[in-house]
């Protein structure tokens, strides 16, 4: 399959749009089927994309270019980083549709249409190679998400939808001005060209801040994270999955694609700011998560803590840290998505998110308890699950830059174990105090089909992360090479020693000892 004669990215963008239009016209049952087939079709295309992606080939593959919209170039293309995030999006989408299969009963066609549009916009964000096109996809996601939270959300959905919309809009608009300035400075909106444009150091600071305003809100970083718990709690289950799974990744992707390679000097200057905010976020949001009574809120705060580890990893300026950050993003997308699904499973039965209303579910819902435990462990970062790989790599990378930041960020893992295990204990273990919770049936086939694929990928990523590291390795190396000139000097002062000689010395000493001992 040749990229030139098969515009796979455009087709992946078009399928959900067409399906969304159809969904608006047909009745509920048909809309569900159309949405599921469209997202599965996109998943198949995504797998083909992955199989045909050549990690050793050109940096940008599957490129397309058309001049339909004047100054807004329809230029698409992906590198390994985009590829993994697109895979994450197309993988989670059918699961989201499945999760809404029975729980959404009103205005099904519109609901499915909103989700399908969301899918197009997410793929577009990761595939856009034109700054303005990226911005359009990035910002347009607000509309369907606003409707999803506002129409199908919980009690306080209106407040949450407004907060989500206006918060993110304010952040992005400043970025738009910065983008316009960059386009005028460089004379092009082509992202690959801009990636190699050196902006003046003074301008970089302002540009960096403008981009930071947008991505920090999207990420979200402390102290602009407050929209996230509201949005998560009020959104329907699938909305939370897509928010945590993919939308938050746009912030990290933005840092990785724009802030770091385009403004390396400014990024290096603001490392203390990013690390400082991340350290506060890790400790503060973990502690907040510890006292939550609402399951979704707890997972939302844990998302902020995990995203803080991503920001620490990204701003390490080294291969390990950035690779780790990407793996944390992928892992968090899967794990927190799965956790929200787990919450959705019991919410559908009891219609409450309050932790104390459950208890002892491992007795009457053993399969559920098993899967929930797996995702809890993955969220904690247990070796063998995806969470471990990413957190270990990004913290190892961070250690080279700042031991203190690493130390404090690592407490987040301990605190994370604290609040996640505490959550799990209160829900799955202990006496069955609530009769209605004790009477709930175990997960059915549909729910099994939603959770098992995620469980498989979580284990796969934990046991053999190379599958996911291979496509990103070269692209991370490109970024690291680009920003190396501004890389910070670490405080851990690691000495690079040739491992072969090091081993020799140890052996030598041992031999000497033995020799001495024989005397």
């Amino acid at each position: 399959m040749n990229a030139a004669d098969f515009p796979v990215l455009s087709i992946m963008l078009a399928i959900p749009v067409v399906a969304a239009a159809l969904c608006l016209l047909v009745r509920a049952e048909l809309a569900r089927i159309i949405a599921l087939s469209a997202t599965l079709l996109n998943l198949v295309l995504g797998v083909l994309l992955w199989l045909n992606y050549d990690p050793a080939g050109a940096q940008w593959q599957f490129t397309e270019s058309a001049n339909l919209f004047g100054p807004i170039g329809w230029r698409l293309g992906i590198d390994g980083i985009s590829l993994t995030l697109i895979m994450l999006s197309v993988f989670l989408m059918p699961i989201c549709i499945g999760a809404s299969w029975t729980s959404i009963q009103k205005r099904v066609g519109e609901y499915m249409a909103a989700f399908l549009l969301m899918e197009t916009l997410m793929i577009g964000v990761f595939a856009a190679q034109d700054l303005l096109l990226f911005y359009i996809f990035f910002e347009a996601g607000l509309i369907p998400m606003y409707l999803i939270i506002g129409i199908w959300g919980g009690q306080d959905r209106i407040y949450a939808s407004y907060k989500f919309f206006l918060y993110t809009l304010l952040g992005s608009l400043v970025m738009l001005i910065a983008m316009l300035w960059m386009i005028q400075f460089a004379g092009t909106a082509d992202i690959p060209t801009l990636l190699n444009t050196d902006f003046p150091a003074e301008a970089q600071k302002w540009l960096w801040f403008a981009f930071f305003a947008s991505f920090a809100v999207k990420m979200p970083m402390w102290p602009v994270h407050t929209w996230l718990p509201d949005a998560h709690v009020q959104a329907p289950t699938a909305g939370s999955v897509i928010l945590a799974g993919v939308l938050l990744k746009m912030g990290g992707y933005g840092f990785l694609r724009f802030s770091l390679p385009m403004f390396p000097e400014a990024s290096a200057d603001f490392i203390p700011l990013v690390f400082g905010l991340s350290m506060v976020a890790v400790v503060y949001t973990s502690l907040v998560a510890l006292v939550q009574q609402d399951m979704k809120k707890l997972i939302a705060y844990s998302s902020v803590a995990h995203m803080a580890i991503v920001t620490v990893g990204l701003f390490t300026f080294n291969q390990q840290g950035i690779e780790g950050a990407i793996i944390v993003m992928l892992s968090h997308g899967l794990v927190s998505g799965a956790l929200f699904l787990c919450v959705g499973v019991i919410y559908d039965r009891l219609h409450t998110r309050e932790i104390s209303r459950y208890g002892g579910l491992s007795v009457n819902m053993p399969k559920y308890a098993l899967l929930f435990m797996l995702f809890t462990m993955a969220s904690v970062g247990l070796p063998g699950t995806s969470g471990f790989v990413g957190e270990f790599l990004s913290l190892a990378g961070a250690y080279k830059v700042s031991t203190w930041a690493t130390f404090i960020a690592t407490t987040g893992i301990i605190l994370g174990a604290g609040y996640m295990l505490y959550l799990y204990r209160r829900i799955a273990f202990g006496p069955q105090v609530n009769a209605d919770a004790a009477a709930m049936s175990d997960i059915n086939g549909r729910e099994m089909w939603l959770l098992t694929p995620i469980a498989v990928v979580v284990l796969w990523m934990g046991v053999y992360p190379e599958t996911f590291l291979a496509p990103i390795r070269r692209d991370v190396a490109t970024i690291v090479a680009r920003i190396d000139r501004a890389a910070p000097v670490g405080d851990s002062k690691l000495k690079l020693v040739d491992p072969t000689t090091a081993r020799y010395r140890v052996v030598h000493d041992a031999e000497k000892n033995m020799a001495e001992g024989s005397h």
Partner: protein
Amino acid sequence: MELNASLSLVRPEIILSFSALALLLLAAWREQAGRLISILAVTALGGAAAFVITSMMNGTDAPAFDGLLINDAFGNFSKILIFIAAAISLMIAPRFLENAGAMRAEYPVLILLSCVGMSVMVSATDLVSLYIGLELQSLSAYVLASFVRSDGRSAEAGLKYFVLGALASGMLLFGASLVYGFAGSTSFSAIGAAMDSEVGLGLIFGIVFILSGLAFKISAAPFHMWTPDVYEGAPTPVTAFFASALKVAAIALTIRIVLEAFGSQILVWQQIIIAVALMSIIIGAVGAIGQQNLKRLMAYSSINNVGFILIGLATGTEQGISAMLVYLVIYVAMTLGSFICLMQLKDKEGGYREEFADISGLSKTRPALAAVLAIFMFSLAGIPPLFGFWGKLVVFNAAVAADLLPLAVIGITASVIGAFYYLKVVKVMYFDDAADVIVESDDKVLVWTGGVLAAANSPLGYLAIPVLGIWTAYAARALF
């Protein structure tokens, strides 16, 4: 010979004037022929537009009547936009006015006369011709505002508009007399030449008064007070006409006088325009928040949009003017579309509803209408991928190119406040419980024009970007 040449340059205005007079005669005999006369008026506008398009294609750029008027690409571009907006205002009106018991033959005639005035305004290159055009347009507008005589609000709107409009005209005239006194001429080019040298205090006073009068006409803050009352009181098709065609004409006139007469001294007027722009953006956004009436909301929205348009003027560059024209085109589509949606809000008794409470839960009872109105609201808020985003983008791009970064940042940040009340409309329609007072519209004209305008505001509109870019750049070049 000179006269003939001049007359041939103002063919569109001649066509419109004679059509208006002929239709007035027809109206005198057939009082009830409102619909027929409307159709004829649309035809006349089409004929006039054909001539405008021809001279635009030919690249005509010639002064007429010894420099009183000019036939150039900028004026022609504005005229096309004005005629389209006027034609749509004519098409959507008959059924509405019939319901209100006020469909008389004078309505299309007044619109045509107003169009003549607006054509003169956008091609005026002299303070005198400018004033004549402006007054012809304004007097027609005052009558149109109070066209539903039986409705107290409409009469009040007309009177308010007249009194305050006269005040603004007075200010404009006073400014014009000062400028004439200190510059020694009423012709834009002569004023421009006089301003090449030193600018005295008297001249600055004149410029301030002229700009204040014009700010009133384009309903820019701090001269916006009349807008909500007039927009609310006037019959909705007339409000749509005010918010689209009139605004285009007044803004085009402002562009021309600022650039051709005062253009050489950018520092004199730039701060005024920046202040007016930012005030309009903020007052338009904040004022709209508490409104319960949708027409008042749209009035504040128009104030807000004028602010964004003026950012283009503040740059004083060719790119800025071209951006303003792009914005104007999109704005006309958005605002006409929104008013067309509001006109479809009819209850079972056939009365028109215009409160927030009436559209509560509209998406459940009338999904298509709600979706179309939501498109316009998101577009007005400038959220991509809707086309309104492109208008804001080009304007801010021009501001960034002209190194007006603080203006761009403040302006775009303030647009978040505006987004709040556009979102409120969507929220009321989509998130609230259904009030179920609005019935299916039986007016196919409204449904279809609304649908077409919504399609233009959807991402499909982006396909028009290259064409729009070429034509606006061509029109803007005529001023430099």
